[in-house]
């Protein structure tokens, strides 16, 4: 095998050396919240890299491999502007989490590593017509019924069973499929990124194994950091925009955080393995094999996009089916007890995706493939693709906090189009490994502490609970302050948790 490696290096024409890792002094502070690593820091970087954060967040980037991974992302062929990390950044695999990288659609590459395994992991926000006081007496019942209505756990089976043929329709049509099956309302579809259907999905590019894994899981939460949460709006920063989104102080809302389950994981897995040979075929040099990619305009690149779009649509349907489960649970517990138990959809956003969008690069308008890995689209007012009723204010951006802490609803802003290819943060961002969190926190203690704060908790395992302890995360408020300060999204309301279901 040693010989084989040597041969590979000779073919590549250069010896493999470990790239330098940047230190804080290698960065230039461009603005209060913008830190830039120049392109000439490493020979293989094609663009400069930018980290967004205040001084403390910037300092945290050097405690793990975030900075090295960000510089690695800057080496992707066809990348334009900057390789960027939103302020909730942390070490991932291949790309850092919080990573945004845009490549030229005509000559750049698409990278499954720049999207991740949980393709279209995202958040859906449902609004109610209830005040927090109205729901308080029923919170325990509601949480128990929700736990049953929205299946969770590893390999957990979903609410819907679909045949292989139905699955193929589902992944092509996304939310429209759910609409046809009576599992969605027209307004749900309108209030979903891409109207719940990313164009270009090609089930012919999806492996039999991905389909096999996907079929039983439609309408399931999964495990890990995925959750379902009942919250109350406890602070309104922008009453006008809040009103447009149907949000007001004291109102009860529901967040659903999950993705494309085994289907998406398998699609990513298949292509990260399958494209390893494409990297060699197209003579692409990569500092980390997880950054594996192929030219967008190659058979391999097109195949990945077609399969990824299927997983994106699967995730939209997954959250849609869970939303219907939430509606059922509310009806079951609250019918006859409150005036209006219905839930309406505020919005649904993707956190892990690659999409074709047009952006200004320098003074040129370009069609780009924007990779967002742990980042949210944040289109400002007037952009096509936004629902008609939100077009004047901008796109809702849903930023869940760590368990038991606040979450935020933001609105996309014009500055995001100028600075970040229309992107912003997606959450709090981890600071501590899961093993360390487990050593420092007992799941059972954390549960008691959350309950002492009046938060009802239903979790698959105490260990899983401990790993998701707020201690292991950055302060989401700090992250949100940075994106608000940068102007790449503005604060609209804050949500405080009342009940949590963790996968």
């Amino acid at each position: 095998m040693g010989r084989r490696r040597k041969k590979r290096q000779e073919q590549g024409g250069q010896q493999k050396t470990t790239p330098r890792t940047a230190q804080p002094h290698d960065f230039r502070r461009v603005d209060e919240y913008i830190w830039e690593l120049p392109q000439d820091f490493r020979d293989d970087m094609r663009v400069p890299a930018r980290l967004f954060g205040d001084e403390e967040l910037f300092g945290a980037a050097f405690r793990d491999r975030t900075v090295a991974q960000l510089a690695n992302a800057a080496t992707l062929p066809g990348i334009v502007g900057y390789a960027m990390a939103m302020p909730d950044f942390h070490q991932g695999y291949g790309f850092p989490i919080g990573g945004v990288a845009a490549t030229r659609a005509d000559s750049g590459v698409i990278s499954p590593g720049g999207v991740g395994y949980d393709i279209n992991c995202g958040v859906r926000l449902l609004g109610t017509h209830l005040e927090r006081e109205e729901i308080a007496p029923y919170l325990h019942d509601l949480n128990a019924v929700l736990y049953r209505a929205c299946p969770s756990g590893v390999g957990g089976k979903g609410r819907e069973r679909v045949s292989e043929r139905e699955l193929e329709e589902l992944v092509v049509d996304g939310a429209k499929w759910a609409l046809k099956r009576g599992l969605a309302r027209q307004e749900d579809v309108a209030h979903t990124e891409e109207q719940g259907c990313l164009a270009g999905a090609d089930p012919g590019q999806v492996s039999a194994r991905a389909k096999e894994r996907g079929r039983p899981q439609v309408g399931s939460l999964g495990a890990g950091n995925h959750f379902l949460e009942i919250d109350a709006v406890d602070e309104v920063y922008d009453p006008e925009v809040a009103d447009v989104f149907g949000l007001r102080e004291g109102q009860v809302v529901v967040q659903i955080h999950c993705g494309s389950r085994g289907f998406g994981h398998q699609v990513c897995d298949d292509y990260v393995k399958g494209l390893q040979s494409a990297v060699r075929k197209y003579n692409i040099q990569l500092p980390d094999r997880e950054l594996v990619c192929a030219p967008i305009n190659s058979p391999e690149g097109r195949a990945y996009y077609g399969a990824m779009a299927c997983a994106v649509n699967y995730a939209f349907v997954n959250r849609q089916v869970l939303a219907m489960g939430v509606r059922e649970a509310f009806e079951q517990v609250l019918a006859g007890k409150v005036k209006n138990f219905d839930l309406f959809q505020v919005y649904d956003v993707c956190h892990n995706i690659a999409k074709f969008e047009e952006h200004e690069v320098g003074d040129q308008r370009m069609r780009l493939c924007v990779h967002r890995k742990g980042a949210t689209r944040a289109f400002g007012p007037g952009y096509p693709g936004l629902p008609a009723d939100y077009r004047d204010v901008g796109q809702p951006v849903l930023v869940p906090g760590s368990m038991g802490t606040a979450s935020y609803v933001l609105v996309g802003a014009q500055k995001a189009m100028e600075l970040t290819f229309g992107s912003t943060c997606h959450g709090a961002g981890r600071t501590m490994s899961r093993s360390k969190a487990r050593k420092q926190v007992w799941g059972a203690d954390l549960k008691k502490e959350l309950e002492r704060q009046g938060i009802v908790v239903h979790a698959g395992s105490d260990k899983g609970l401990a790993e998701e302890s707020p201690l292991a995360y950055k302060d989401v408020s700090r992250v949100v302050e940075v994106v608000h300060g940068l102007g790449i999204a503005r604060q609209v309301v804050r949500l405080q948790p009342l009940a949590v279901i963790k996968g």
């Binding site: 793990d64 194994r209 890990g224 085994g262 997880e290």
Partner: protein, 135 residues
């Protein structure tokens, strides 16, 4: 054999460092490292046996495929595979037997086996690599 793998710090996911005197031992130890993420291997009743045959582009892809296959089987059959015999191995081909037992849910959800930081290198009379699991 000493410690079969060690967990190394990773902010969001789980990373292990694995060594083996030869490729076969490296693959077995990595698989054991995965099994320990999913359950307590000592508590398993080894009633399931599965033969696995794989071909891949190179040794790293073979290792990712091997671990991915074990992960897939453990999810599909609600089991954990923790005892292994490598029958045949080359850098692009593997034939092995994996034994394990049924479990009631996994200890943690491992979404996937990544290529991140993976590079099988020769170290003093053996092989070593890092494996990062997406959790």
């Amino acid at each position: 054999m000493g410690k079969r793998f060690e967990e190394i710090e990773h902010t969001a996911d789980v990373a292990i460092r694995v060594r083996g005197r030869d490729l076969a031992e490296l693959f077995v130890n990595a698989a054991y490292g995965l099994a320990c993420q999913l359950s307590d291997p000592d508590a398993l009743d080894l009633t399931i046996e599965q033969e696995i045959e794989l071909e891949a582009y190179d040794a790293e892809t073979l290792l990712v495929s091997w671990l991915g296959e074990l992960l897939y089987l453990s999810e599909r059959d609600e089991c954990v595979l923790a005892d292994f015999d490598v029958l045949e191995i080359a850098s692009t081909r593997l034939r092995a037997v994996a034994r394990g037992g049924p479990v009631q849910g996994h200890r943690r959800h491992v979404k996937a086996v990544t290529f991140s930081e993976m590079e099988i290198v020769r170290v003093g009379g053996g092989y070593e690599t890092t494996v990062v699991f997406d959790v």
